[in-house]
């Protein structure tokens, strides 16, 4: 632990050092970006929640125009692949929560290699070959309705959930929502990770089936229905979304499971065929920087990945609470195993059998 702290301290100091020398180091990049004048971004992060980040970035580089396209993950992939193939130019900066699709694009040579000066501030697992960068540290959580779920029925861990679904069958009957792995890539990714780290995952799946859980394609629809009480609990919800909703809906509760909490990260890369590569580099550096990550944590309520950003909505804050129970989904080609057709279909089949659908 001491050693760990020391490393953290050291990397923190190093990062501080780097951000101080930041402007000088990327001088050439800044000049080139100035000539480019703008950066085109495809992102699955909601434009309202990202607004503070963009404002701050524009304050830092007033000469850059930011063309922010708020798209869903499938749209990002569809647009990018078709545009890249047609040679008509596409996004400079790709930022999506579909970790597997992003990594697949990067691994097929669509990403620019660029060693961001901020790398030292990131965990090792968050950077893939200086091409794809994990930009956030978001716990996969359980959301529930505080008005309706009795305190003794709120699960604190995955094992708890399995037990409660059995013991309080009536409370949970048709009241649980979760992702449909067949239609949602993010949902599929989380469930396959669950299956990897949690030996009883299939018991959990069977429990979901036995209680008649409903499956969804969007986090928003699930949270809406948990808020209204149509469902009382939603399993595998990205924590940042719950925090955002809590601002408006005080009846939403958030549990980070104690036995293990998956950590999910929105992946960014710079397009190899970017028309404004330098502006994109500035944006990537900014998003990964302490300044950008602080804005993200404090204003956008998205968990920061940097260990040197203090506060509750950060990797540091989560580590303090959960320590080793945090299981980050690492940014590397292991994720791509889920895209392998036969394995994927096998998983879906098993899921449907468990769910009895």
């Amino acid at each position: 632990m001491k050693k760990f702290l020391f490393v953290m301290l050291l990397s923190g100091m190093l990062a501080a050092q780097l951000s101080r020398s930041y402007a000088a180091e990327s001088n050439a990049t800044v000049t080139a970006a100035q000539k480019e004048g703008k950066v085109v971004i495809y992102s699955s992060t909601d434009s309202a929640s990202v607004e503070p980040l963009l404002q701050d970035f524009k304050a830092l580089y007033p000469f850059l125009q930011v063309e922010y396209n708020d798209l869903n993950t499938t749209e990002i992939y569809n647009r990018f692949t078709a545009e890249a193939a047609s040679g008509t130019g596409t996004a400079d900066f790709m930022w999506s929560s579909a970790m597997d699709l992003q990594l697949q694009l990067a691994s097929k040579g669509n990403a620019l290699s660029y060693a961001s000066p901020e790398i030292s501030g990131l965990p090792k697992w968050a950077v893939w070959q200086n091409q794809a960068y994990g930009t956030t540290f978001e716990p996969v959580s359980i959301a529930y309705n505080k008005r309706l779920l009795p305190a003794d029925a709120v699960p604190q861990s995955h094992a708890d959930l399995i037990r409660l679904m059995k013991e309080k069958h009536d409370v949970y009957k048709e009241k649980i929502a979760t992702f449909d792995p067949e239609k949602s890539g993010v949902g599929f990714l989380m469930m396959t990770q669950d299956a990897k780290v949690f030996p009883q995952f299939w018991d959990l799946a069977k429990g979901l089936g036995a209680t008649g859980a409903k499956v969804y394609t969007s986090t928003g629809a699930m949270l809406e229905k948990v808020g209204s009480g149509e469902h009382t609990l939603a399993y595998n919800i990205i924590g940042s979304y719950v925090l955002l909703r809590q601002k408006k809906d005080p009846s939403l509760g958030l549990v980070l499971p104690k036995d293990y909490t998956l950590v999910f990260s929105r992946i960014a890369f710079i397009s190899k065929t970017a028309r404004n590569p330098n502006a994109a580099k500035l944006f990537l550096d900014y998003v990964l920087s302490k300044r950008g990550q602080t804005v993200m944590s404090e204003k956008s309520l998205v968990y920061s990945i940097r260990s040197d950003v203090p506060g509750p909505i950060t990797a540091a804050g989560l580590t303090k609470d959960l320590g080793k129970a945090l299981k980050p989904i690492e940014v590397n080609t292991d994720i791509l195993a889920g895209l392998e057709q036969n394995k994927r279909l096998e998983f879906m089949k098993q899921w449907k059998e468990a769910l009895k659908r």
């Binding site: 909601d46 708020d70 078709a82 309706l148 239609k183 149509e230 392998e340 994927r344």
Partner: protein, 533 residues
């Protein structure tokens, strides 16, 4: 003149339809995305889809939904049309626009409106529960979905016979009713918003949601499989159009704007007057008021559902929050532009095609009949992609992609069948004798159109413009891939908000949209635009 016009019509329509459709057909015979360097010719996609039990059951469910929807909407729509047009129903003038105007909510929002109003913990459900102790309906059943879809579609079913019922007697309307039935049957296969919101959580798959599944099932979007599913719906149009054409052979009989003046006396309903009003009102409550109230309520509450008192949670925050979306104003302006100016241009285009096919006895007309139906048969999910591909890979029009023109072209093509039906309904009312009279006095075909036909249908054209405007304003899936910063439309903003789940904001935005379009409609009707002309 007439030859040029006709060749233009056939070639023009063929080009705009086969552009996107051709790409999809091509895609269906490949092993992966057509633009991928490793794509090869293959029948694998057909083999996979046609032998997949998921496809079979989704197809079966869609068939059931389509049939049910048609069986509900066609008799009901015809009845409503008849009541409003041919009888002395009380309050007719007031009710008419409510019945004719397609509800201008995106389908997903409409479905969500039902969830908020009559879902398990919806406002009306909880009030009912408080009164009688239980909720006697289940929104999330296959039959609930069919019922709602059928009731909603009654409007479409009525709109066709409407224009004709205004002046002729019921038996003569029959072919038009059957025509509407075919269209609705097809629309049943296209339903996406309702099944996604109402059926999907419980695992109820229809063809469009099955298609949706194919974007993720194999990891990356499987265009070749999606193309095959889309083509299976396209294939359905052939028997439908064939049946339709057989029924419409007697089209000459509709002509009613003739040389002789005619007067109609509405049929007195007598004692049936009030039951008839009750039916119309009940239908309005279910298809318009319930979802609209649901959406409107959601836009002014911070939370809702079980254990919430309405008066504790009222707020205007969601409307205020919309200010945080800088692209919103642009989206509204663009939507109105594309609906009004774009809609007018589309009506001109539809009118040219309509005139070209007007009184033309040729095989080319039947070719056109099949052709115009095809774009509507393509599900929204794939139409949007197909247009993206067309604008990306067909270089001469590539520069248009980032402008509103690309959206306009896509909308015009997708609504071809609807627009042409409006135009031809107007054209069918013109008796040949008027045009023949002009021709006898030496007028060329161009002069006949300009001086006789067009002036006679001008009210029909303006009414069509208004209806096309409504369709364009609520359109959302077609343009998803053509939008960029600067060319947002409301429909697309709703889609992107849906992704992140800001349903409160979507509701607020939809309320603004409904109010805005309602205002425009009100002004238009005040100015004397007639929807049934």
């Amino acid at each position: 003149m007439s030859r040029t016009l006709r060749s233009f019509a056939v070639i023009g329509v063929a080009l705009v339809v086969f552009g996107p459709l051709g790409l999809i057909i091509y895609q269906s015979f490949l092993s992966e995305a057509f633009f991928s360097p490793t794509a090869s010719l293959s029948l694998g996609a057909y083999r996979y889809v046609l032998t997949d039990s998921g496809f079979h059951s989704a197809f079966g469910t869609s068939l059931l939904v389509s049939l049910g929807m048609t069986l509900i909407s066609v008799p009901l729509g015809s009845l409503l049309a008849f009541l409003l047009v041919r009888t002395d129903l009380p309050g007719k003038k007031f009710l008419e626009p409510w019945l004719l105007v397609p509800i201008f909510l995106s389908p997903v929002v409409l479905a969500f409106g039902y969830v908020v109003a009559v879902g398990p913990v919806g406002f009306f459900s909880l009030w009912t529960k408080a009164l009688i102790g239980r909720v006697p309906w289940n929104l999330y059943s296959l039959y609930g979905m069919i019922l709602i879809a059928g009731l909603e579609a009654a409007r479409v079913a009525g709109a066709g016979p409407w224009r004709i019922a205004a002046t002729v007697s019921l038996p003569l309307v029959l072919p038009s009713i059957l025509f509407s039935a075919a269209l609705i049957f097809l629309l049943g296969f296209e339903l996406f918003g309702l099944p996604l919101v109402l059926g999907d959580p419980a695992g109820l798959l229809v063809l469009t949601t099955y298609l949706y599944k194919l974007t993720n099932l194999l990891g990356v979007p499987s265009y070749h499989l999606m193309a095959v599913v889309a083509l299976s719906i396209v294939a359905l149009t052939f028997p439908l159009v064939y049946a339709q054409r057989r029924m419409l052979r007697t089209a000459g009989r509709f002509a009613v704007i003739g040389g002789k003046g005619q007067a109609f006396r509405p049929l007195p309903l007598g004692a049936l007057r009030w039951p008839a009003v009750a039916i119309v009102l009940l239908w309005l409550v279910v298809t318009v008021l319930l979802p609209l109230i649901g959406v409107a309520l959601r836009s002014v509450v911070s939370q809702w559902g079980e254990g919430i008192k309405l008066f504790d949670v009222l707020t205007l925050d969601h409307f205020r929050e919309l200010k945080g979306y800088p692209n919103l104003v642009r989206g509204i302006v663009n939507t109105l532009l594309i609906g009004s100016i774009g809609g007018a241009l589309s009506v001109v285009f539809y009118a040219i095609i309509g005139l070209a096919a007007h009184r033309w006895q040729s095989r080319w007309v039947s070719f056109l009949d099949y052709l115009v139906m095809l774009p509507r048969a393509l599900p929204g999910l794939i139409v949007g992609l197909a247009f993206l591909w067309v604008f990306l890979f067909f270089k001469p029009i590539a520069p248009l992609r980032t402008t509103l023109f690309s959206l306009w072209i896509a909308y015009t093509v997708v609504w071809l069948a609807y627009g042409l039906r409006l135009i031809s309904a107007a054209l069918l009312q013109v008796k040949p004798e008027l045009e023949e009279a002009a021709r006898v006095t030496g007028a060329g075909q161009g002069t006949v159109y300009r001086d006789v036909t067009l002036p006679l249908i001008r009210f029909g054209l303006i009414g069509s413009w208004l209806l096309v405007f409504m369709m364009f304003v609520r359109e959302y899936s077609t343009g998803v891939y053509l939008l960029g910063p600067g060319t947002e439309v409301i429909g697309s903003l709703i889609v992107s908000l849906w992704g992140t789940g800001a349903l409160d904001l979507i509701s607020a935005l939809s309320v603004i949209e409904v109010a805005l379009v309602g205002l425009i409609l009100f002004i238009a009707l005040r100015l004397g635009v007639r929807l049934d002309a």
